[in-house]
Subunit: 187 residues, 2 copies
């Protein structure tokens, strides 16, 4: 089909390529770290280098795209869990996903260059706001059914979950630590 | 008094100088970071540079001395707390001291060069063993009076306390997080 017969096709191709690049980058950054050659990302996504650079002019742009997708998925999980029948279980499930996200993506976040335009700080603040808002909603719901002590604050839960992720322990240990924290905020 | 009249005097002077150097280094590393010029440490301790280098041939030797003293003090606190009347309060007090120690001394520990002789790893393992043993004794005592749940392990408490310290939050927040954890391990 030529662009003439369907004027939207190039844009659809562009979206498909972009999604393939982000998916490939996400997999490769996870497996081989945030320094993976961008050339390998293009190969894994099945696109030409030029196509990669048209979508993502710098490595930082690609990292931001991967990270933004992670945050969106975590937020989508929160939206689903806000409709779950057991609010305490929902909060605990989301916190585990958050711990795993921080544990897996910390190196990626650190790899974002701290440019003078303050862009990194702005992005970090945006992502933090999204996650904090989601945590607060899940916490409110668990507190409304008296499953979580009323003095517990979302900011403390996120800080504890962050601290657990920073220990860099294997997943079963992270879960054990979160289990202690869960006892700590429960009524 | 000449060395002839008291043959132990030079050694006593040496010990006094060494203690003054460690105390000065500890203060300066805390205030100005582990890169503080060693010359400033000698001046603050009131000794000549040559005296500093006789006691501590390298910056790493001085860092090890400061860190060893910190660990000894934390261990001395544990010994005192093992005789306290309230074992749960004793455990909680020691954990707060441990969190503060990790929070304050993390940069110092990181500044120890990772030489090929494996010395850093050996020292870290020794310090970890001391702290783990102390935590275990305090925990055993708190569990013996059923103040702490029986399935809680010292290694999890240390990991949680470590994670809290790694958040780099101000002291009042560190205490709030530890408060949640305390609820989490209590019966």
């Amino acid at each position: 089909m030529s662009p003439e017969s369907n004027p939207r096709a190039p844009r659809i191709d562009g979206e498909r390529n972009r999604a393939a690049l982000v998916a490939a980058a996400r997999r490769l950054f996870d497996d081989r770290g945030p320094d993976t050659p961008l050339n390998d990302v293009a190969v894994a996504a099945g696109v030409a280098n030029a196509t990669l650079y048209r979508h993502f002019a710098t490595r930082a742009d690609l990292i931001v795209a991967v990270y933004t997708q992670e945050v969106s998925e975590l937020s989508a999980l929160a939206k689903r869990l806000l409709r779950a029948t057991d609010p305490a279980q929902a909060l605990s499930e989301w916190l585990l996903a958050f711990v795993r996200h921080v544990a897996a993506k910390r190196d990626l976040a650190q790899a974002l260059p701290d440019t003078r335009d303050g862009r990194r700080g702005t992005l970090f603040a945006e992502w933090h706001t999204i996650m904090h808002t989601d945590a607060e909603r899940l916490l409110d719901r668990a507190q409304a059914v008296h499953a979580v002590r009323s003095e517990i604050r979302a900011t403390d839960l996120l800080a504890l979950a962050n601290g657990i992720a920073l220990t860099r322990l294997p997943d079963d240990r992270l879960q054990a630590l979160l289990h202690v924290v869960r006892h700590g905020y429960a009524t």
